[in-house]
């Protein structure tokens, strides 16, 4: 049981890092960023390629995170920016971008999975009956560190304040002279950095492949809706709840339907609250 809960925690941390990137972008720009999965994939491949070329892991990881940031910003500059006034068009653009990013990975590296090696691959911690593989401990650490950094950025800096203001009332922020476009880019930059962190945090436990982030992205969207579109704090809470729920369901009901438990949760929430747990009017990036 405790091992299942710990697994749920690992899963929750992964969901949190991905979901916070999604919710931030949604909060600021109202875009359901399906292409985030593609950002994660390219970041993972960048890390793998740098490692394969002989770079030490830390350097390769930084390359991966940087790649995630660059790709994410490019999606905003080249595509999303142009549909900001047409919210109905954004799901379509998001999905088009996902196709492009995933298949760029497929084109560049083929469909076969590749292994991402880390220095902590074979490290293992044991606490009573619970085993903590090094890669998963690293995942939790990376998640906690990056989310703490984001929290500081949002609550303590002028940029973060402006971003929260834009998420609450884009027009009012614009009237006060806050440069809105820069906030869009910044949101995508942060989401991309988090996507890069997610990639290096969990690729080592599995494989780098063009479709590695599909399941995670679906679960992260459940989290975003659970936590309220645009709410960072809600996303973190929702991620932990969903991680534990999926882990419990997978351990005690059926592992094959792991992501369906998240869906069930989503349906229950949407039946009761058709526009998510928090309505978009009160959405906040905080």
């Amino acid at each position: 049981m405790s091992q299942v809960l710990v697994n749920g925690l690992f899963l929750g941390c992964l969901f949190a890092v991905v979901a916070v990137g999604l919710t931030l972008v949604y909060g600021v720009m109202e875009v359901p960023n399906f292409a985030h999965a593609g950002v994660i994939v390219l970041a993972a491949y960048a890390t793998w390629a740098a490692g394969d070329a002989g770079a030490p892991f830390a350097l390769a990881a930084l390359a991966g995170i940087a790649c995630g940031a660059v790709v994410s910003v490019l999606t905003e500059v080249l595509a999303y920016r142009w549909v900001v006034d047409k919210p109905a068009a954004s799901p379509a653009v998001a999905l088009g971008l996902l196709l492009i990013l995933q298949n760029t990975a497929l084109r560049g590296y083929g469909g076969a999975g590749r292994s991402l090696d880390t220095p902590y691959d074979t490290v293992l911690f044991r606490i009573g009956p619970v085993t903590l593989p090094g890669v998963k401990v690293a995942l939790v650490l990376l998640a906690v560190l990056s989310l703490a950094a984001l929290h500081l950025l949002l609550s303590r800096t002028s940029l973060g304040r402006a971003m929260r203001a834009v998420a609450q009332d884009r027009e009012a922020a614009a009237m006060l002279g806050v440069p809105i476009r820069r906030q869009y880019t910044l949101a995508f930059l942060i989401a991309g950095l988090l996507g890069g962190v997610a990639a290096i945090a969990y690729a080592p436990t599995f494989q780098v492949s063009p479709y590695m982030a599909d399941d995670v992205l679906l679960s992260a969207f459940v989290v975003v809706v659970l936590g309220g579109l645009g709410s960072v704090r809600g996303a973190v809470t929702g991620a932990l709840v969903l991680g534990v729920a999926e882990s419990l369901g997978s351990a005690y009901v059926s592992s094959a339907y792991q992501s369906a438990f998240g869906f069930l949760l989503l349906v229950l929430v949407l039946v009761r609250w058709p526009s998510g747990l928090r309505s978009t009017d009160a959405r906040r990036v905080a």
Partner: protein, 415 residues
């Protein structure tokens, strides 16, 4: 309203245009002496560890066959293989390729790797003999349609070797099984492991599974390891089980790992990464004999030639793929036809082991290659040798009437 008409015509026109652009192929070709047959292989996708190696081997087989050619109804012929990629998805891409090969190109024989069941409805509409060079799933693919042939023994001929070997050599008394759910080969293996564990008196202390395509096997691995087995068996093919092996080792399991995936050193390195030698320690693979470990001189010579030409480790399936052209040639000679699928189908059941083949088939009663549409080779257990970073044969055996026979142990597998 006229724009609507125009749109309809435009759409209809573009269907017509696009379909003629890639319309039916030119058929068997003008050169009478050249015979074209088909091969549907997994060149990309999850099973892309299989297709390219199969194609390499077939290329070698065709070249070797065509050096002398083969005679049908008194005329010399050469062979050509038309390849198609099923993208590891026979039901979607493979079936289209099959329709194209049998209906448009009218090819008389098709070789393939995966997806027997999905081809059956199409075979009902347009029967043609299909030779499987890979799929040893249990229950056998041969039960699905009378036009299917299998060039190797089924899983039931080699899985019992795993249990027999580990019990005798490692003292394994209990085992946990982790299965890729919904993957037919893996599910068949799990059934067979349970059967032969019972026969050997080995206890199956845990069975767990994970959905194919999932990324976190934590729960399945925990269930297996928590039962404290002497060994863990992983059910499925190379590309699927190696990521599980990695997480299994990462979770702290240091005991023996058994499987029937036919993993070779190149794949281990590619999929497991730099740590592959550590991760592969204490690893046992029970499957058909490998070209590299075979005692058969023709097979060993093929293994060497393959390695020299393609600079990669020959998997077991390469020998069956290499032999495909020879089987086709023998059947066409026997049938006296290069075009009639019905005659060739009948002939396949009547040919003996063709000259020039390298698989080292075990002779069947009546000296036929196929008995009940199946051919058989010896099975073996291989083990990983960390010192040389490669695999070596630990035991060869055959399986007859539900019992392991002709067991031969290697003295010191890793030398």
């Amino acid at each position: 309203m006229r724009s609507r008409t125009a749109a309809a015509l435009l759409a209809a026109g573009s269907i017509a245009l696009s379909t003629t652009a890639c319309g039916p192929g030119s058929g068997p070709g003008g050169d009478d002496t050249k015979v074209k047959v088909g091969a549907i292989l997994s060149m990309s996708g999850v099973y892309s560890t299989l297709g390219p190696a199969e194609k390499n081997a077939m290329t070698m087989g065709v070249e070797e066959l065509n050096r002398t050619g083969f005679t049908v109804a008194g005329r010399k012929h050469t062979l050509e293989i038309g390849y198609a990629d099923d993208k590891s998805d026979p039901a979607t891409t493979g079936v289209v390729a099959l329709r194209d090969m049998t209906q448009s190109q009218k090819l008389p024989v098709i070789a393939y790797g995966l997806g027997s069941a999905t081809y059956v409805p199409q075979l009902r509409r347009k029967p043609v003999p299909m030779i499987n060079i890979l799929d040893s799933s249990y229950p056998s693919v041969l039960a699905q349609d009378p036009h299917l042939y299998l060039t190797r023994g089924g899983s039931d001929t080699y899985v019992p070797g795993c249990l027999s070997y580990t019990k005798q050599k490692l003292g394994t008394k209990s085992i946990a099984v982790i299965t890729a759910k919904g993957e037919p080969y893996g599910e068949g293996l799990t059934q067979l492991v349970q059967k032969s564990a019972q026969a050997e008196g080995v206890k199956v202390v845990a069975t767990s599974d994970y959905p194919l395509g999932s990324t976190d096997y934590g729960n399945a691995i925990n269930t297996a390891v928590a039962a404290k087995p002497d060994a863990v068996y992983l059910s499925s093919v190379t590309g699927v089980i190696l990521p599980v092996l990695k997480q299994l080792r990462q979770s702290g399991w240091t005991g023996p790992v058994l499987h029937s995936s036919g993993v070779n050193p190149d794949q281990a390195r590619a999929i497991l990464g730099n740590q592959f030698n550590t991760l592969m320690k204490d690893n046992y693979d029970c499957a058909g004999t490998l070209p590299t470990t075979s005692a058969h001189p023709a097979t060993a010579a093929f293994a060497k030639a393959y390695q020299e030409r393609w600079h990669e480790y020959p998997q077991d399936l390469t020998m069956w793929a290499y032999d495909y052209p020879f089987i086709v040639a023998a059947a066409m000679t026997e049938a006296g036809s290069t075009t009639d699928p019905v005659k060739i189908d009948r002939a396949l059941g009547a040919i003996s082991i063709p000259k020039g083949t390298v698989s080292g088939w075990l002779p069947n009663p009546g000296d036929l290659l196929f008995t009940d549409h199946g051919a058989r080779t010896t099975s073996e257990v291989t083990t990983w040798c960390p010192a040389t970073q490669t695999i070596a044969s630990a035991m060869t055996f055959d399986h007859r009437d539900g019992a392991i026979v002709d067991q031969v142990f290697a003295k010191d597998a890793c030398g």
